[in-house]
Structure formats: structure tokens, C-alpha cells
Symmetry: C2
Subunit: 638 residues, 2 copies
């Protein structure tokens, strides 16, 4: 029946896209399940997750202030959407499966807690009492726990699995830091040394521990050692040993442990994926199977198979389908068994690139002209290596021109020449090569080139129009023109073969960096919410250079501090955007102790815990996973 085919199609596409949802097989549930997987609903869901997360821009401390009722109304709408999506999901899968899945429980708890928090917050606000929107830290949990967040959950699982071993090493590492600190206390505290600020040097144990922890990140090297080194060169030995053990050896061990666990975990996950995929395909087979011979094994006929593939992948051509069938039915029997059927999911994922050279459309349109001698010469010139080299040289000359001052009219006019040359290049290529092949899915550089050149052409024209219309240049348009001009230069590396392998590997990492970006987003969001509650408006940035408060970020406690001296005032937690940028700076590590002590100065020493915690979670664990990930990508490649 048609229902059977629908069901089998769903199993096949679930297997193809590695979906793992145990949906009900009643016709109604199947229809709901198809709807649930519709791309528009998924886009809508992610849109509302994004809206929900973006509310932080408008809530206090806000980048753009909105009244509380407005943000709360939007949040309620988001909660409603999430609830509908969850109810939809509950209708699709069996009831007991629904309640056993921690993902669903987690979403329900988040939704309830958010609602409770909103009510409390609203009530307290109405009574003009101080209140905290604590449920905001829960928002990223939705990103993790929606059914589509598979990759992200995998990343978090991989972190969780690495934790026991990482924490063993971490305890040992902290022990080492504590021992070295104790030694530093005994060796240096009684010598009456002073830091360059004139404070006493290495006299308090906890301060030594913090200073030496910062030294592990290298952020206060060599400053932390200078007073001791100035007193006696021999003390340099202590710090060298410390850096060798704690920075070089322990940090490498962290990378090794994270990498090892990541690989081990990845292998296990892939094994499970393959198993789940086979299971789905076996179910699809079970739906379509028939008995050819009495007592023989069940099989699927060519006819049914054809219909299934047509439904599962309506986009593939019948020739391609015929090819797939011949791969499956290699005995040419007219039916296939379970083993041959199960491999279909993988076969469908293989991109078959049709290599047959299609004739150029101009050849069929104006054959006499296109095949004339001059036309052929043009084609041969374009396909020649010299053509590529010529344009690489033009790009290099262009680079020099860009570097020169664009206020010189000769140089600013030369831009039109270069643009014309680039447009000419693309047109010539489109003349010589088949346009559909030129703009095929895998021709990254052709797409890149064309988009950049066309965009640059448009932006340059807009810019000139603005300029000639009123002698006025829009800074934004000009910036875009500049960026596009420089982007165009990148193309030169594609010409060199030995760079192409490296760049292709980097491009292939792309999708995984997206998952990684979500991971970072989740962690940053939580830290940003907490950070904003703890540190909002403690440090202020003044645009106005004449404001005397600018020198100490509007907080007298910061007078004379390194934080203020380096004019770090804009590195604050006063809105979600600057919080994110601050957290990025902490991820890069350098000067994190200055930022941390700055915020400790305006609040309390214990605020340093926030910054150390961030360092441990983001730099020691998450960045190492990222590095492990790039390493693995390159190991697989070579």
C-alpha cells in the first residue's frame, strides 16, 4: 500500500540523515512525523531559539533598551513555540519513549523554570524590588536539547567522557602549582622584594597561587619573575622549571588526554551511528519484503525498490537510479535480499558526478560562430596555463595598488581597470567553459570569485554614484569596497597546487567548526549571563575623551590600576555584546589576569574565581577539543 511506501521512505531518509527518532508507526503519527521533519518547521524552531537567545540584547543590562513587558512578551511567544514543538514531538513518538528521554524532561523543566522566573521577576518588579532573571542561563539548554541538536549533544558528550581523566590530570596539575607556590613562599617572602608597582612581592600564599596559575597561561611572563630575577639570577631557574613542568608538560598532557578521549569517543559514536542506520534500513526492508519462494529468504522486488527510491530521492535521474539498482542486484535476479537492501542508505548519499562533457549552450545556439577559428583561439587561450598566470600577476599588481594611497586619482581610477579585467576574466571563462560545470556545487573558487567581483562592481558603482551626486563618500560603502578588493586577492593561492590541499582540508573543517561555534555559544552565553549579573555597570566606557572619569572607567576603585592604565574600560559586562567580546579576549588568554583583577578590584577578590573557572572550562577543555579536532582532520587527510 501507499502507507507502507511512505513508512519505508521515512525509514530510508532517517537512515540517510542519521535521525534517531523512534516514531509511532500508525498512519496518523507517520503523517505528523513527516510534518515534524519539514525543513520550514526546523528553520522556524531555530529562528525562535535565536530570538530567545537574542533577548539578552534588549534585557537589562541592555545594549538596546526595551521595556520589560516587551521582552517578556516575546519570551512568552518563544516558550509557546517550544511547547508546541514539544507537544508535536510527543504526538509522534510513543508515550513511554517520550517520558524516558532526558532531552524532553530537560526542555520541560527549562520551560517551567523560565515561566516561574518570569512570574517572580514580574511580581518583584511590580513591587519595585531587586530581582534577578536567573533563568536566562538556562536558555542555551534548549539549543542542546532540541531533537536537531544531535551534533552539539555529541560534542558535549565527548566533553563529559573526557572529564574523569582530565580531572585526574587537573588535580595533579593543581597539586604541582600548590607545591611550587609553597616553595616560592618559603624562598621569596622574607627577602623584602617589591614589584614595579611598589607592592610587596610573593608574601601571601593565595596571591602566589594566583600569580603562578596566571604564569601557567604565560600571561604574566616575564613580569612575575622580574623582581626575583633582579634580586638574584638564580631565581630564574625556579620560574624556568615551573614553566617547563606546568606550561609545557601539563598543558600538553591536557591536550593529549582530551585528544585521546575525543578519538576513542568518536569511534564509539560512529559505530553506534552505523548500527542505528542498519537498524532503520532493516525496518524499511521489513515493511516492503515479500516471499518469492516457499521457505526462501524474504526479498524486495525491483518494482517496489524503484518506487521507494523515487519517493525517497525524487531528485535523482532514472539513469542514476538504474545504476544504483545494478550495484544492489549484482546477480541480475530482479529482486534483492536484506543485505543488499541495507546498503541503500549509503548509496543514496554518494554524490555521482556526471562527468560527460555537456556541449556549451552557445555551441548549440550559434554553432557556426562558436566553432569559428577566432572563437576556438579564445577558448584555447583561456584554457592555457598562461591565462591563469597572467591573472595571478594582475592580482599581485592590484595588491600593490591597493596598498598605495587611494587618494591619488591615478590609483583610484586604476580600480576601474582592475574591475574591468576581472569581469572580463569571468566572462571569458564562461565563454570557454560550460556554465553549469563552471558553477557546479564543488567549484568553490569559481563561486567565490564571481560573487566577490560582482559585489565589488556593485559597491564601487554605488560608491562612485554617492561621491559624484554630492561629493559625499559613505564610510560604510567604502569599507565594503575595501574588504571586497582585498578578498579578491585571496584567489591567487588557489593557483598554487601545494596550497590547494591545505585549503581544501580547511574548507572541509567548515561544517564541524559550526558545531563548535554552537558549543562555544552555549558556554559563552552562560558565562555572559552570570558575568552581567555580577559585574554590570561596575566599569564604564566613556566615548567622550574629555570626560575626566574616562581615565579610571568611571569607578574610583580603578584609579592607578593596570586595567585603567591600559584603557580597558570598554572590556566590560555592561551588555551582552561587550560581554561576548570580553569572553573572547579571555579565551585568547593574554592579559586575562589584568581583566580579572580589574573586575576583582571593583567587586571582591573572590571574583577571580569566575575568571579562573572560565579559563579552565574554555581554554583547557574546549579549545583543546578544537585543536584535537583540527589535528584529527589533518591526520585523516594525510
Amino acid at each position: 500500500t501507499q502507507e507502507d511506501f511512505d513508512l519505508a521512505t521515512i525509514y530510508v531518509s532517517d537512515a540517510q540523515y542519521n535521525r534517531n527518532i523512534y516514531f509511532d508507526t500508525s498512519p496518523q503519527a507517520v503523517r505528523l512525523y513527516l510534518l515534524y521533519n519539514h525543513w520550514a518547521l526546523k528553520v522556524l524552531l531555530y529562528f525562535f531559539i535565536l530570538v530567545n537567545l537574542s533577548l539578552a540584547i534588549f534585557e537589562e543590562p541592555a545594549l538596546v533598551s526595551l521595556p520589560t513587558w516587551a521582552t517578556m512578551l516575546v519570551e512568552l511567544l518563544c516558550l509557546l513555540v517550544f511547547t508546541i514543538r514539544l507537544v508535536h514531538y510527543a504526538k509522534v513518538i510513543p508515550r513511554e519513549k517520550f517520558w524516558k528521554d532526558p532531552k524532553n524532561i530537560c526542555i520541560i523543566i527549562v520551560l517551567l523554570l523560565t515561566l516561574i522566573d518570569m512570574i517572580i521577576y514580574g511580581a518583584l518588579k511590580a513591587a519595585n524590588l531587586y530581582s534577578v532573571r536567573w533563568s536566562r542561563v538556562l536558555r542555551p539548554l534548549l539549543l542542546i536539547n532540541v531533537t536537531e541538536g544531535r551534533q552539539l549533544r555529541r560534542a558535549f558528550r565527548s566533553i563529559r567522557n573526557a572529564l574523569p581523566e582530565v580531572s585526574s590530570v587537573f588535580v595533579l596539575f593543581i597539586f604541582s602549582v600548590l607545591m611550587f607556590s609553597l616553595m616560592a613562599l618559603k624562598l621569596l617572602s622574607k627577602r623584602g622584594l617589591k614589584t614595579i608597582e611598589g607592592a610587596s612581592y610573593f608574601t601571601n600564599y593565595l596571591e602566589i597561587v594566583f600569580d603562578l596559575y596566571v604564569l601557567v597561561t604565560t600571561a604574566n611572563s616575564p613580569d612575575v619573575m622580574m623582581p626575583a630575577y633582579n634580586a638574584n639570577s638564580i631565581f630564574a631557574l625556579f620560574f624556568i622549571l615551573y614553566i617547563l613542568v606546568n606550561t609545557y608538560i601539563f598543558m600538553s598532557v591536557f591536550l593529549a588526554v582530551v585528544f585521546n578521549n575525543y578519538k576513542k569517543h568518536l569511534k564509539e559514536e560512529i559505530r553506534q551511528l552505523v548500527r542505528a542506520k542498519r537498524h532503520k534500513m532493516a525496518r524499511a526492508f521489513g515493511v516492503l519484503q515479500e516471499q518469492r519462494e516457499e521457505g526462501g529468504p524474504p526479498v524486495v522486488s525491483h518494482e517496489n525498490w524503484n518506487k521507494l527510491v523515487q519517493q525517497a530521492r525524487p531528485d535523482i535521474s532514472s539513469a542514476h537510479r538504474e545504476l544504483l539498482w545494478r550495484v544492489c542486484d549484482d546477480g541480475n535476479q530482479g529482486f534483492i535480499g536484506k543485505v543488499a537492501f541495507v546498503q541503500l542508505a549509503d548509496l543514496l548519499n554518494i554524490e555521482v558526478i556526471t562527468l560527460k562533457s555537456r556541449p556549451h549552450p552557445l555551441q548549440s545556439l550559434i554553432p557556426s560562430l562558436y566553432e569559428s577559428k577566432p572563437s576556438r583561439l579564445v577558448c584555447r587561450v583561456v584554457q592555457h596555463r598562461g591565462f591563469v598566470i597572467t591573472f595571478d600577476l594582475i592580482i599581485l599588481v592590484n595588491a600593490v595598488f591597493i596598498g598605495l594611497d587611494e587618494e591619488n586619482p591615478l590609483i583610484s581610477n586604476s580600480e576601474w581597470v582592475f574591475l574591468a579585467l576581472y569581469v572580463l576574466e569571468i566572462l571569458l571563462k564562461l565563454y570557454a567553459f560550460e556554465p553549469r560545470a563552471f558553477f557546479s556545487k564543488h567549484s568553490f573558487w569559481n563561486w567565490f570569485d564571481t560573487i566577490v567581483v560582482v559585489a565589488a562592481l556593485i559597491a564601487t558603482i554605488v560608491n562612485s554614484a554617492l561621491k559624484s551626486s554630492g561629493g559625499y563618500t559613505s564610510r560604510q560603502v567604502l569599507d565594503i569596497v575595501f574588504i571586497l578588493r582585498v578578498l579578491r586577492l585571496i584567489r591567487v593561492v588557489d593557483g598554487i597546487k601545494r596550497f590547494r590541499a591545505i585549503i581544501n582540508t580547511l574548507i572541509r573543517i567548515g561544517p564541524a567548526i559550526l558545531t563548535f561555534g554552537q558549543l562555544i555559544l552555549v558556554v559563552y552565553y552562560v558565562f555572559a549571563m552570570v558575568g552581567m549579573e555580577l559585574f554590570k555597570n561596575k566599569v564604564k566606557f566613556y566615548e567622550d575623551a574629555t570626560n575626566p572619569e574616562k581615565a579610571y572607567c568611571g569607578n574610583p576603585l580603578l584609579k592607578g590600576s593596570t586595567f585603567a592604565q591600559l584603557s580597558y574600560c570598554k572590556n566590560n559586562f555592561n551588555n551582552v555584546v561587550s560581554s561576548f567580546i570580553l569572553l573572547l579576549e579571555l579565551t585568547v588568554v593574554n592579559q586575562w589576569h589584568v581583566l580579572g583583577t580589574g573586575f576583582a578590584t571593583v567587586t571582591h577578590k573572590s571574583a577571580l574565581i569566575f575568571f579562573v573557572l572560565f579559563h579552565v572550562m574554555v581554554v583547557i577543555i574546549i579549545i583543546n577539543i578544537f585543536v584535537a579536532f583540527v589535528l584529527e582532520a589533518f591526520f585523516v587527510e594525510y
Copy 2:
């Protein structure tokens, strides 16, 4: 004959220790070869290499000034020793082999160039003309090219093999830096922004390239972005993208490429080692082989084998030898063929730990007392888990006491109690366990404990004696006491099982870190020599705090520079020790741009090339090899 046995013995020990010298097999050459491999001559050679390298301490710019004739005399002596060693080597191996080996050619060239340099230097010095001892940079080449420097040569080969691929990535990386710099120039140069020092911001292309190169190392983050970020938050995006691409992705790719090449190369090297070892053993077999049966395969008899093993490893017991024979001659035929013979080199390297429990010496000395009930109770207590836990607790209490102020008499006296407890612990353990087993080769922690406790006991007694004799405390002795006290605390980690695996891996890396230390020494030495020629006495450190020149390191050019403000005056190239410490600081990377620009300020902008070159060679290549090395050690372990 005896000569045959000597020759076979040499082949076996060459195979065992992976020596690869194709020596002459004439009896005289063999005797010379045995002498050449004598440990005393090797120690002597390394001693003179060390002396030769250490001359830098006494040569201008000197830490301890010696007259030129004195250092030159010592250097001549060193050259003489190296020449003798080389002549000895030439006598050992066939003449044509000697002249084909680049190692020997390299040593000869180094010796000749050094001699020429010394003559020129001496002549110019006598004529009171300016001259440079340029041959000093060649000194570390001797460390690499002596026959014993196999491991070090392997490390350098591994770097050389990684170079083509690393340089591909490096060119791409530099291209990326240049493109980003060009974009920064176009976007930021015309905005009239100022750095916190009031200088113009991002207006000069070369300066932007340097600033962004420094940003790759994160050393000027977030300072380099603050002026742009203060002007407009959107510019943070540019820097974030830059750091993502160049710091996170490219630096990880460098690690990946270095690691990949290291592994590939290591595998090839090990394959070659195994091949060479087999070849040596086959030659030993060739010397000792005899024909048992007419036309049968050649064999080695049990008798000859025994004699060979006795000569090759006189230290192993006859029981152990008998065991080895049984492993080889598993058919119990009384002779072995080539295949069984070849594996001997590996068998000899296996440590056989005799597990039989020897009785305690006290048991045979005073059996009645040692086996009495109270004595047995003592043994049982010592072997109990509670005993270990008790002493771990004592250590923790001790740690707290160390942290407290030792000027309190209660606390300084408690030290005696702790020392007594530790001595008691060791004595009890020696009473309960067999002493030779307790101090066996593999009992790292027992050795560690005993040495630290005994040393602490001696140092504390010396300290007290000094104190009571004249109320005078020697700072040095007290420092040693403090260090030993803290070292004792380390023992606590050995008690916890899950740390032991990590620590054992770390201990096993030890020998390889030694090779790595030599590698670093070679590179540092070359950079130190060049650095001292370029920058000596440009920056001065004044012990005297009242000296007004201290504020700008004795060089008016540094007035107001960050270098002087952070009082980095002692980070200079005025002698070899401070040069090495400075290079270490550059290796740690943080603030390297401050150090670099400091030296560029007192000389010329192009001095930055020295610092960038150092960063590329040491941080991008050598440190990555170190990390690859630690990673590999941990991957093998788990």
C-alpha cells in the same frame, strides 16, 4: 679464536646499543674501536664539548671576565681533543667511509674555521682593531656531529623532513597575515585613531604586519585592538576573525603538520634501526658460524654462544644465560641457526626482574628476634594500608606547618618532630622490607624519599649548627632546607593510584626530554651568540636602585618605552646567562614584542627580524615537536 669472539662481541653490543659504525675488522682496528667506545673517553669528549660551549661565559661579553689568551688557550685544548678523537675515529673505520661521512667533514670544517677565526681574532686584537669571534656559532655543531649524538641528529633530521610541508603552511599563513594587514590598513588608517601612547594607529603597512604577527602569538591581545574597538565595536569582529584563522586554525595546522611528519619519520627511523640491528647480528653470526652437517645450514654451537654472551654481558648470571639459551634453542638441539641468533640483541636488552623474595638480612642474622611476635606485629603494621595513610596525613599536616611562619619557635621546632617521623618511617620500612628490594633500580619513590629526607636532615643540622654557633643563619642553607621540605610533600601523590599512571608516563618521557634539551641548547646557543654580537651592552641593568640611569636601562633611547617602564633592564644580551634567560622568555612568547621592540629601539627596526626568526624557529617548529612528542608518549601509553 679469541679475536673472532671479540669481533662477534662488538657486533652484538653494537646491535644492542644501536651503534652504527662500520669499523675496520683488522685486529688492530677492532682494539682501537673498543677503546673508542670506552665510556671514559666518551665522558671526556662530552666534558670538553661542555667546556668549549662554556667558554662563552668567560669571553666578551663575559659573565666572568678572563683574559683573551686564557680562553683561547682552553679553546685550543678543546680543538686538540676533538682532533685526536676524530683521528682515532679515522683509524677505526675504513678510509673511504671516513671521507664519505658528512659528520666528519662537518667536524673538520668547524675545527678549521675555528682555528682561522682564532688567528684572525688574535691578530686583530693585537693590532687593537675591532673583531668578532664569529666561529662561536659553530660550536654547537660539534655536539650534533660527534658519533654519540645519534639522538640529536635524529631530532634535527625530523625537523628537516618536516620543513617542506611546514614551509607550505607557513607561506599560506604569511599570505593570510599580509591580506589581513592590507585590510586593516584600508579600514583603519584613515580614521585618525591613536594608541594609548598617543602614536598614530595602524597607518604604516609594515608596522601593521608586525603588530598582527604579534597578535598571532596573542602577546598584544587585546591591546592592539583596543583603539579600533573603542572607536567602533564592529572592528572587534575583524580581530576575532583574525585570531580564529591565524592563531587557532593556522597554529593548530602547524602542530598537525609537525606531528604528522614526526610520526612518519619516526616510523621510518625505527624501521632502519631494526634493519641495521639485524645486519650487525648477521655479521656476528657470520664470524661464529660453523657447518654441522654437510650442505646443511650454518649454525652456532651452545658453547660458542655461551662464551659470546659471557663476553658481551659479563654481568648476567649463568641461570639467566641458561634461560636465554632455552628461549633461542627451543628445539633443544644444542645449536642455533641464524634466525634464532639474530634475536639475541633484543633478548639481552630485556630486563629480567628476579621476583623470588629474598629473606630479610636480619632474619638470618638474628632469627629469634626478627621472628618474635612484636617484631612480626611491627612488620604487619608497616605493610598495612593504614601506615601509608597515616604518613600521608602527617605530610599534609607538615604542609600546613611549612606554610605557616617559621619564625614562631613552636613551628620551627616542629620541623624536628616531622624529620624524626620521616626518618622513623624509612627505618621501619627497611625493617619490614628487604633492603635490596626496597632500593631496587625501579623503586623511584623509595630512592626519592630517602635522598630527600637524609638531605633535609643534614641541611637542617647544618643550619642549626650555624645558628647556634653564632646566631647566624646562612641564606643558602636555609633555602636548601626549604626546598627539601617542600619536595618531601610530593611523595603524597604516589599513594594515589590514578595519579601513578600519569606520573609514570611523565617519568618515562625523561630521557627524551634530555635529547630535546640538547636540541634547544644548540638553537639557543646560536641565537645567544648572534644576539650578544648584535645587542651587547645596549641595555644595562643597575643593581643600585638609586642610580638615575636605572629607570631607562642606561640607554636614553629607552626613556618612556614600555621596555623600561616594565623594568626589563636585566633582560639583555650582556652575557651568555642573561641571553639564555632572555631567549627562554621569548620562547614563553608573552611580552616578546616588548622585548623585541626594546632592542629595536636601541639599535634599528630591522632588529625585529632576529626576534621574529627566533619565534618561527623555536615556537612554531621546536616547541611543536616537543608537544608532538608528549602527545605521542601519552597516545602510546593509553
